[in-house]
């Protein structure tokens, strides 16, 4: 429970990563950073593919990476902003995350990238952005990053 002293996860505390071939396959895959048992289950309830395992409402979610289709249903509803969609395509990495700040992001926007600790770790380009009004004002955005950074980039800010 060291992560509760810091507020972020270190490498050895991360949940098991999706297999490399799954990340590089045709569809992106979700990665949930929600290790603590809290009474919360919207992700489990939103999944139509039975890819999220949860025995009771206090159970941390566990993803079956083979069943996950990368449909983003869980990403849309997660109140903890703890779900990320990761993908590697043509040697480039992509991370999709929830974004609730002004100015809203649009495709082509350049953004600064931050890791779990809030360190500035580079720049990225938005390749897809769901309009905020389409998801109760939580925008979903995909940012193109170095493929080695898909498990590092956890926040973006514009300007």
């Amino acid at each position: 429970m060291k992560y509760l002293e810091r507020g972020y996860l270190e490498k050895d505390e991360l949940p098991s990563l999706p297999p490399a071939e799954r990340i590089e396959s045709k569809k992106p895959v979700v990665y949930i950073e929600c290790p603590q048992p809290i009474p919360c289950s919207p992700c489990y309830e939103s999944c139509r593919f039975d890819a999220i395992k949860m025995d009771n409402i206090n159970d941390p979610p566990e993803v079956d990476y083979e069943k996950c289709t990368g449909c983003m249903a869980c990403l849309r509803v997660c109140p903890g902003l703890a779900i990320f969609l990761v993908h590697i395509k043509d040697g480039k990495g992509y991370v999709t995350l929830q974004y609730e700040f002004l100015p809203w992001l649009e495709k082509g926007d350049k953004v600064r990238l931050y890791n779990r600790k809030g360190d500035h770790i580079g720049e990225g380009v938005i390749t897809w952005a769901l309009k905020p009004e389409r998801n109760d004002r939580t925008q979903l955005v995909t940012v193109e990053v170095d493929k080695d950074l898909i498990f590092e980039v956890r926040a973006v800010r514009k300007g």
Binding site: L4, R6, S41, P42, S46, V77, F101, Y114, K117
Partner: protein, 524 residues
């Protein structure tokens, strides 16, 4: 200071009006409270304390703390955070000469300990008699709160007697849910709330809620308030009285004042008390300086009225309230210097902490605030590390640059009415203080009086909604409404809540609840 845009909330401001603060015109918008409008105009000192003449300002924003009392249209001691602006309103600061910002008597704060050490008031100015009489007069003049209005107030008063199966006091998540579920099975419900809106503190919760989808998880608090209100509006057997302050319960009669002019007497067969909670504060040097705010107060200012509390804040307490508030400040474009937490670990949900951590807000566990500094408002703070025995580690003090401080160290149940009905109370630290003993259907030791929400023990809105549901259904059933269907839902509601509290976060609550179970459980 007013926010023009916000990612989550659209601020609908009313007509522009002018109010007068110590004679100076101030721009305000209809729908704003006096305190919010003055804050937006940059006013930080709202009054002076009556003894030391220390500056007093905004703190809780929900009418509980008395820090914002001013003279409004000639009437002293008005809680300006609860009164809405009207064009031409005259507002004056009190306990100060000439006004609170530039108070001559502020010098007392610096001198009083030197000339009047504690206990000296027994000995000073006692003789000769003439001096005593003169000084008594002068001190009487200076003491007390505000000036008595000179005119006889011109008010019309009415009196109304109503009957209800279930009277619900408080229109927050717990009260709304109790009203909905009692009304659903046919009980005649009267809902009383002191505000001119329903939803209680939900109206400033811009974040999405946790829990299960069935209990509105993933939905923003502001929206949950709307959903509950819409649901309640479906029923014709509900009478909603807003702007009604309940001041007492006599037997099973609830007494309140509506719109400051009508006395209400609700003859109820069952009563649900859902009055919520107060914000706690913390002891540190200068904790009374304007700029030290309750976390909820800042949420009200920012998320309800769209007013920035400052440029850079320091958050004390890393429970969910502190963490969520930090995120909301960032969303409103306000910087957060740090979060300090006295415990060795973050108190709230990890995911909430991760949200702000990745945006660069440091969280210092095992740290506390030592003091705030500033003349009339917060200009900075000093934090320090704590050792295992909760003492400040020498040399670890460091200055934090900030212009406001949010105290998010928990809440205490607002339990006055429970004492009034004579409910058996018990001190349960896990539940936030003095709480009533209750059955598993949330009935207190006084038959027919129920509790729901934070007044029964500090938890959060989802649990309040679930408790309200239980209290509402049980009160309806015991009045003979609902039949088997209601009994089935009651079982389900009790089970849902048990499951909700089954995790490690609920453990503390469950442990607290075990200490306040009423032995004489009334089974159906």
């Amino acid at each position: 200071m007013r926010l023009e845009s916000h990612p989550i909330v659209d601020f609908k401001r009313g007509k522009e009006v002018t109010i007068y603060f110590n004679g100076q015109p101030v721009k305000a918008y209809e729908g704003e409270t006096i305190a919010a409008a003055l804050y937006a105009a940059g006013v930080r000192v709202f009054s002076r304390s009556f003894r030391f003449h220390r500056p007093r300002g905004f703190f809780c924003a929900i009418g509980k703390c008395s820090q914002c009392m001013m003279e409004v249209d000639g009437v002293p001691n008005i809680r300006t955070c609860k009164v809405y602006v009207r064009d031409g309103m005259q507002i004056r600061t009190q306990n100060a000469k000439p006004d609170a910002e530039n108070d001559y008597f502020a010098i007392i704060d610096k001198l009083i300990d030197r000339f009047f050490p504690h206990g000296s008031h027994y000995k000073k100015f006692n003789s000769p008699r003439l001096l005593r009489e003169f000084m008594t007069k002068q001190m009487r003049k200076m003491a007390g709160f505000g000036n008595v209005p000179r005119n006889v107030p011109d008010v019309n008063t009415e009196y109304e007697v109503m009957e209800a199966d279930v009277a619900v006091i408080g229109g927050g998540p717990g009260g709304l849910s109790a009203a909905i579920h009692a009304a659903k099975y046919g009980a005649k419900v009267v809902l009383l709330d002191e505000n001119n809106y329903l939803g209680g503190q939900l109206i400033k919760q811009t974040h999405r809620f946790f829990g299960s989808g069935r209990h509105k998880a993933g939905t923003r608090g502001i929206r949950i308030a709307e959903i509950l209100e819409e649901e309640l509006m479906q029923y014709d057997n509900v009478d909603i009285r807003k702007e009604t302050k309940v001041f007492g319960i006599y037997g099973m009669d609830v007494a309140g004042v509506q719109n400051n002019s009508k006395l209400l007497r609700v003859k109820a067969r069952k009563i649900v008390i859902a009055t919520g909670a107060y914000e706690r504060t913390l002891i540190f040097e200068n904790n009374d300086l304007p700029g030290v705010y309750g976390a909820g107060g800042v949420q009200t200012l920012m998320n309800v009225f769209g007013i920035k509390p400052g440029n850079k804040g320091l958050i004390v307490g890393s429970g969910n309230v502190g963490l969520i508030l930090t995120y909301q400040l960032l969303q409103a474009g306000v910087d957060v210097a740090a979060i300090v937490e006295a415990m060795p670990r973050i108190g709230g949900y990890f995911v909430h902490a991760a949200k702000v951590r990745r945006l660069g807000v440091p969280i210092y566990t095992r740290h506390t605030i030592v003091k705030a500094f500033g003349e009339k408002k917060v200009e900075g703070a000093v934090i320090a590390q704590l050792d295992e025995r909760w003492n400040v580690v020498e040399g670890s003090e460091r200055e934090i640059e900030c212009d406001f401080i949010c105290v998010a160290v928990g809440l205490s149940p607002a339990h006055e009415l429970l004492y009034h009905v004579g409910a058996e109370m018990k001190f349960v630290p896990e539940l936030g203080g003095m709480v009533p003993l209750r059955t598993r259907f949330n009935e207190t030791s006084v038959k027919g009086v129920y509790v729901a929400g934070d007044v029964a023990g500090i938890e959060e809105a989802t649990a309040a909604i679930m408790e309200g549901r239980i209290a509402g259904i049980h009160s309806a059933i015991t009045l003979g409404y609902g039949g088997d269907e209601a009994k089935k839902e009651l079982d389900e509601a009790v089970k849902d809540l048990e499951e909700f509290r089954a995790g490690p976060f609920g453990e503390r609550i469950v442990c607290g609840l075990e200490k306040c179970v009423l032995e004489s459980e009334v089974m159906l």
